[in-house]
């Protein structure tokens, strides 16, 4: 019978049925970080349990790491305590830790693929909702809570209910200046922040066929913002090309065998989906958010919604709440909204291609007066690659601060925070109230190139105009 990749991976990892009808699912790869794991190790100790497969858990430190200097001790004693706890837990339980001194530290969802730990046809879980990022490789990957981290450490399995699968086709050719970030913001806007509850999203169509692995990661990363716990793209030659030779990938004969297995895991062409959504690439334009939920999206040349025009009372209240928080005028163009801070980084858009693309356009431009602009590589490896191409220098010359690797201002658990009601043009994934560290701070999500355009103009801007995108080669 024809099956989707999700069903094949689910079947291959099903251990047994539990008494409540859920599946005991084997999670082959477990990724951990300093924020959500210490309590799980504590529970393990309380229960007198060991880590069942220490070779299948990988740790890094990302959320609390300061990005101005990673030198310890950190100024924040709580942050230091958290990294110390992770070090001790990894040592005691025999878990591989990509610590700061390894040269491989970074955001967990950047490190996994980079090291070749993320592989097609596998199951991956992490105490972090952006774990769907790894779905770009044809893995079934999702976020979990701390009690489930305990379950994985102790048994390498968790109790889970099978998801339905929604196929999202994006066909056609994206217009110049439209990026993977715009595609996912558009999908979330169309299907809503809760549209994906109960579903795994399978992304496909010519746009995804043509996307690089890093672009696929950007889309899969934000699946949870659309309510879908996991999102994936079927593995293809690009997937294998990206992975070949990476440290944790099979080598030689084993590599060839692995590729054959991985190819067989892709969804069968005639498999049935629980739902199918078709989107035309030509309908997508550079996107920005105007509110406090990632589904509050519009194209940059559109106007901010007006609650007076909304007939549904719940939606009207929701728009009013969002505009009051964002201090944005109903019905006005979003373009021209002044920004205070610009942030390029995060597990959504903190990879080499993100910085490379923004640098291409930043050359010869200067960050507008009064704007604070920071670029934070997603990992130490990304940092080194950017430096080897001189990308960091382009950012510095333009007036950006080039920082060290971490989650940084995406969720502001380190010193990188908005102050007061500053408005941030951000390449990250969430525009929730207070997300970027100030209870009144405001976030507008957009692609890295759009953040670069906001940085040089000091306001929300159509990057295609300020950078003459499409008029130069190689876009």
């Amino acid at each position: 019978m024809s099956q989707s990749l999700f069903e094949k991976v689910w079947d291959a990892h099903t251990v047994r049925q539990l008494s409540n009808g859920q599946t005991q699912l084997l999670i082959g790869t477990h990724l951990i970080h300093e924020v959500t794991s210490p309590q799980a190790f504590g529970m393990l100790r309380d229960l007198g349990l060991k880590v069942k497969y220490p070779n299948r858990t990988f740790a890094t430190v990302d959320h609390i790491v300061p990005t101005q200097s990673q030198v310890e001790p950190f100024a924040d004693p709580l942050a230091q305590e958290m990294i110390n706890a992770l070090r001790q837990n990894c040592e005691e339980f025999g878990v591989t830790f990509f610590d700061i001194n390894t040269g491989h530290q970074g955001i967990v969802h950047v490190v996994g693929p980079e090291q070749g730990i993320t592989q097609p046809g596998t199951t991956i879980a992490c105490g972090d909702s952006h774990t769907a990022t790894h779905g770009a490789f044809g893995a079934i990957a999702f976020g979990i809570g701390t009690t489930q981290i305990r379950d994985l450490l102790a048994t390498q399995t968790m109790a889970m209910t099978k998801l339905k699968v929604r196929r999202i086709n994006v066909e056609g050719e994206l217009p110049p200046g439209v990026y993977a970030k715009d595609v996912i913001l558009h999908i979330i806007k169309l299907l809503g922040a809760k549209g994906g509850i109960g579903y795994a999203y399978e992304y496909g169509g010519s746009v995804f066929d043509n996307f690089t692995m890093e672009e696929r990661m950007t889309v899969c990363n934000m699946s949870i913002e659309g309510g879908a716990r996991c999102g994936y793209v079927n593995p293809d030659e690009k997937t294998f090309e990206y992975l070949e030779g990476r440290p944790y990938c099979p080598q030689g004969e084993e590599w060839d065998e692995a590729v054959e297995r991985w190819k067989a895991m892709a969804s069968d062409p005639d498999c049935e989906y629980d739902d199918v959504v078709d989107i035309r690439a030509e309908d997508i334009a550079p996107s920005v958010t105007w509110g406090i939920s990632p589904d509050h999206g519009i194209f940059v040349n559109e106007t901010i919604p007006d609650p007076a025009q909304e007939s549904d009372p719940d939606k009207r209240t929701s728009i009013e709440e969002a505009l009051e928080y964002m201090k944005l005028p109903a019905g006005a163009p979003i373009e021209g909204t002044p920004v205070d801070v610009c942030f390029i980084g995060s597990c959504t858009n903190g990879r080499l291609s993100d910085f490379r693309e923004a640098a291409k356009y930043l050359k010869g431009h200067q960050v507008a007066e009064g704007v604070k602009a920071i670029a934070v590589p997603g990992s130490q490896v990304v940092d080194q690659l950017c430096k080897s191409e001189g990308i960091d220098q382009v950012f510095r010359d333009a007036g950006f601060e080039w920082r060290e690797a971490g989650c940084s201002m995406c969720l502001a658990m380190n010193p990188d925070k908005l102050i007061g009601d500053q408005l941030c043009a951000s390449s990250s994934n969430r525009n929730f109230k207070g997300r970027q560290g100030s209870p009144t701070g405001r976030t507008i999500l957009m692609s890295p190139v759009m953040v670069a355009a906001a940085a040089v103009t000091g306001k929300v801007t159509d990057a295609r105009e300020v950078f003459h995108v499409g008029e130069t080669a190689g876009v």
Binding site: A12, V15, L18, S19, N20, G21, Q22, Q24, L26, G28, T29, V35, T36, P38, Q39, G42, L47, K52, H63, I64, L78, A79, E81, Q119, G127, D128, S129, T131, F142, G143, I144, G145, T146, T147, R150, D151, A154, T155, Q156, M158, T161, A193, K194, I197, G227, R229, P250, E257, A258, S293, D314, L411, A412, M413, R430, F432, K433, G434, R435, P439
Partner: protein, 200 residues
């Protein structure tokens, strides 16, 4: 690891209306700089309950009349966003035993389940009515009957939705799955043995 059966939850309620209330709002990230969950209760909904100078805002959770509430009532997609278990832990540590909302984000729902906190879904109309009743009478006794999938208060009652697997887990005292997961050891090893990447 003996757990108790959860057949019903009874207590006073507090209504926190709103759609898409995310886990960053339930517990802002800066309060997650900790290696245990102890003490999270006092930071529950911190930024919507406090002005920047620390003084209290007007909020149902700041109303002394609702100080004894153990059932939180809310809107659509409650608990969306970050997977942080700190959010249900903060609710739990603040004394909450259950949540009634129009719908729940999946990771949050699962996290609450493993803590023994039923999250039941109801229609907008029933929630609005219950919310109004709770506002009018903060001492109103509410019972979530897990077995019957119903909520009772005063002379009223309405149907709620709870997936069968979650209800079964509460009723059979297996809402924390660790015991049963550990029992599957032989099957775990057999499954792992068939997956080449597990050996690396």
């Amino acid at each position: 690891m003996a757990l108790e059966k959860i057949t019903s939850v009874t207590g006073k309620g507090v209504y926190v209306p709103g759609s898409d209330i995310d886990t960053d709002r339930i517990i802002p990230a800066r309060f997650m700089k900790c290696v245990t969950f102890d003490g999270l209760g006092e930071f529950l909904f911190y930024d919507v309950r406090h002005h920047e100078d620390g003084s209290l805002k007007e909020h149902p959770l700041n109303d002394p009349k609702h100080a004894e509430a153990t059932i939180l009532i809310s809107g659509v997609n409650f608990g969306c966003g970050s997977s942080r278990e700190h959010a249900p832990q903060a609710l739990n540590k603040a004394g909450f035993k259950a949540v009634i909302a129009q719908s729940f984000a999946e990771i949050f729902f699962g996290n609450c389940g493993t803590l023994g906190m039923p999250c039941v879904a109801a229609t907008a109309e029933d929630i609005e009515k219950l919310g109004a009743a709770v506002r009018a009478n903060p001492d109103l006794k509410i019972t979530i009957d897990v077995e019957k999938n119903r909520v009772f208060y005063g002379d009223e009652n309405f149907t709620v939705h709870l997936p069968d697997s979650a209800r079964e887990a509460f009723l059979s005292a297996r809402w924390d799955p660790i015991g049963e997961l550990l029992e599957g050891e032989a099957d775990i090893e057999a499954t792992a043995a068939k997956l080449p990447y597990m050996a690396r």
